[in-house]
């Protein structure tokens, strides 16, 4: 039950003299004032709040009740794959033999961990149809960036100066952002009416300066790019490479593989497809898989296995681009991905994708009368509907619908992305939801479509806060707690 008394910030709960933890008494004769010259020492303690452990626990426990989460609510958030996060993963990832390992301890004392990570590399290579894997990238965006640098090193080795990265208008924002960060010129294709990449438009943009075409497949409209083989030919004929943004891998596990449909490089979002929990924004893990001719450029270290002794070791690829982060990677999330793959196996993964696609097509059909999908036909694991008619006829925008759904106990779908669909409502049901939940969600959408416009426009009505004033937030940014007049 929500505690309506708990509305203060940590800093407002602070009472001078309280503490939440004690530490051992000094047992060595050395005193800090003797150890370090005074010029390095701070005159005062940091101005942190002073709280007891019960203060802290009640505060954060009450805060947690102000969130929607996968464990408490249905989360049909397009592009985000909010599937169930198994509890066994949490317990196993916390085993002392996995969680208490230092990155610089002896490899001899890491054989279990390195063996597990080696096996994960192999499994990700098999699912991708691409033989070489780096587990280092911390998230999908970093995977994109890493792969673009790998491509760059490959072209440099071939004395080719390719400066352009291409992507469709419907691409995730991270694609152009990663390409720009890596120092490429960004070339966006004109949006096509069909929702698919327009081959003529692509041909007109691909030239001998093209390094990489980044494409999400299934794409962000939830459609499988049926011409992906031809797209790959166009790039390969021009000497370029194809990057597959793997955000939507949940639709095709064991059904088709990026390496088989022409991709040269890809990233996984372990926190989406392989159910590492999202953690309210992270951590993720964004391992990449690439073709054999790109393997030497991957960031190190990679786990290798000595064929004779069977021991595992860390090695750096011969022409590695270098590190993209410190230490091995977001191992805690990679472990959860490993547990998931071992729990589902080949048939379980395929079934997961089949159910994800079944659920999406079912919900799309249920919603079609209120939220039509401009790019019709079948969808894959998600679909992008448009609330344009609803807005035109009833004055209810995609945002209004999203906010009102919160009152019904459903997390909102992704709205206003991709940009190519007006009043976009992007729904990804995931496979770990029942028909009954999808039916209830559909009923809520239909009910909202009949509700009084102003009432919906002012939604949500039942959440801990109503719509925030974002304009004020941006105009006069308050990015930390401000001491009030009563502040000491």
């Amino acid at each position: 039950m929500r505690n309506t008394q708990a509305t203060k910030l940590l800093f407002e709960l602070s009472q001078a003299g309280r503490r939440g933890n004690e530490f051992p008494r000094p047992d060595v004769p050395d005193a800090v004032a003797d150890c370090l010259p005074a010029k390095f020492l701070s005159d005062e303690r940091p101005a942190l709040p002073e709280l007891t452990e019960p203060d802290v626990i009640r505060h954060f426990t009450n805060l947690s009740t102000l969130n929607m989460s996968v464990d408490t609510h249905y989360y049909p958030l397009g592009s985000c794959t909010m599937k169930y996060n198994p509890k066994r993963h949490e317990r196993l990832a916390s085993l002392p033999g996995l969680v208490d390992l230092h990155p610089y301890q002896s490899e001899t004392d890491l054989q279990g961990m390195l063996g597990l990570l080696f096996e994960l590399q192999e499994m990700l290579a098999e699912i991708a149809g691409l033989p070489a894997v780096s587990l280092q990238p911390a998230a999908g965006a970093q995977g994109e960036f890493t792969a673009l640098l790998v491509a760059s090193a490959y072209f440099r080795d071939r004395s080719e100066n390719r400066t352009k990265v291409l992507f469709p208008a419907s691409a995730h924002g991270t694609n152009p952002a990663s390409a720009a960060l890596a120092g490429f010129d960004c070339v966006q294709l004109k949006p096509s009416g069909s929702g698919f990449v327009d081959l003529d438009e692509l041909r007109s943009k691909v030239d001998d300066q093209t390094a990489v075409f980044m494409i999400t497949n299934p794409n962000t409209l939830g459609l499988f790019e049926r011409d992906i083989a031809e797209i790959s030919h166009i790039l390969h004929d021009a000497g370029g490479l194809v990057y597959i943004d793997g955000a939507n891998m949940n639709a095709i596990l064991g059904i088709t593989r990026p390496g088989d449909f022409g991709g040269d490089m890809m990233h996984y979002n372990v926190h989406k497809t392989f159910t590492g929990p999202h953690g309210a924004g992270g951590p993720g893990a964004g391992p990449i898989a690439v073709r054999d001719f790109l393997a030497d450029y991957l960031p190190g270290p990679i786990v290798t296995r000595d064929a004779e002794s069977g021991t595992f070791a860390l090695t750096n690829p011969e022409k590695s681009i270098g590190r993209v982060r410190s230490f091995f990677g977001n191992v805690g999330i990679l472990l959860r991905g490993y547990f998931y793959l071992r729990t589902l196996g080949a048939d379980g993964l395929r079934t997961a994708s089949e159910d994800a696609v079944l659920n999406a097509n079912y919900l799309k059909t249920l919603l079609h009368d209120v939220l039509p999908v401009p790019n019709g036909g079948r969808c894959m694991h998600e679909f992008v509907a448009s609330a344009e008619t609803l807005k035109h006829e009833r004055g209810i925008s995609a945002m209004d619908l999203a906010k009102r759904l919160l009152d019904y106990g459903f997390h909102a779908p992704t709205v206003y992305f991709p940009l190519v669909v007006p009043e976009a409502v992007m729904v990804e049901p995931t496979e770990t939801e029942s028909k009954a939940t999808l039916d209830a969600f559909s009923a809520a959408v239909h009910q909202i479509a009949t509700e009084e416009t102003d009432f919906v426009h002012n939604a949500p009505h039942t959440t801990p806060v109503s719509r925030p004033n974002e304009v004020q937030a941006a105009r006069q940014p308050v990015l930390k707690w401000q001491c009030g007049s009563d502040c000491k």
Binding site: V32, G112, G279
Partner: protein, 447 residues
Amino acid sequence: MTYRFNTPGETRQMLDVIGAPSVEELFEQVPAELRLDRPLNLPPRLCEIELEQHVAGLATRNIGRNGRMCFLGGGVYDHFVPAAVDAIAGRSEFYTAYTPYQAEASQGSLQAFFEYQTLICQLTGMDVSNASLYEGGTAVSEAVFMAMRCSKRHSRIVVLGSVHPEYRSVVSTYLGRLKCELVTVPTPNGTADLSAIESAVDDQTACVVVQSPNFFGCLEDVTAIAHIAHRHGALAIQSFDPISLGVLKRPGELGVDIAVAEGQGLGIPMQYGGPFLGILACREQFVRQMPGRLIGETVDRNGKRCFVLNLQAREQHIRRDKATSNICTNQGLLALRATVYLSLVGPQGLREVAELSTARAHYAARTLSSLDGFDLAFDRPFFKEFTLRCRNGADASIAAARTAGFDIGPALRRVDANADSNLLLVAVTECRSKEQIDALAAALRAV
């Protein structure tokens, strides 16, 4: 099958509604010639009991802090993680939530991250903190790119050689395709020579990157280094150790423009290198060039205080190729851990952690360097970590300690191929007692 909802009967009903004869038919968009015509070649699936036994078996082949006394350093430390941190981070309302784009349904996470930003500002003395980056190395890289935008200089970056070699490697990788010179100032004596920095910084330099306490454990004269940077119109970036701020001067007091850190010491387990926490805080004037998410306070329609993702026009989902960074997914759950940790220890607790670490590290340095064959590599002030010179080589000492049940290191050579093979790091946190330090000394005496 595990986590599966759709029964054969429901599947049939759903297909009827869709108007499809089979699930197979739903995949009609995927051209037949591109389909995988065999099952994936993966190991057989395991039920929960089998998985637990399999993973437990792998875990017993690892010996970490559970089996050896940990004196390892180099950017990851065996600081204590209070149970209350695990309890809060283990609440699934936090760990199974998505990025708080829907503010009304995410006030718990948003307020926690707003509190995180405030705590980081209180800790560092800086004006603004973002809501997290991946880890310490990318935090340095993001700060460097931010400094290039702030200074409008894109051709020269100066980094001290005493910055963690892996962080320097990350910066070098990130700059890979750009026409930007990365100048490394050598630090053969454990800290930077100010005149060497002075001669490396010119009027086209975007920033000077200093780490203090640095990779060797030593404290740098950050104020003087920041002065040099500022005199040339460059920004000063400091990579700091958050635990050290229980006793050491804060980046804000030292005059730096951007302060970054690896936040692992703030209630985050070592977990073989990640996930960790990238901290980035800066002066007010640079806020619109910051990478990553920022949480802001505002009011709702009823005038009630609430929190939202703010200044999103900097970010990739709005600005695309003009964004200040490509980062999307960050380290939210680790920022939550740091928030709970800092709330628990408070000002006095953080001071005690830092004092204990300092005192015991200095005791350890005195004790180990008094052994035959060992001495301190650098005669410089240090915090909780120091560089030991081993006459018989770093690897032999690490091996001897390991046999006796202690992990020390890393050997500098392991992290930097050009380093002296006799040098290694020893780190001492509040978790290591005098008794344990004496036992380590006894083990090394035998080398």
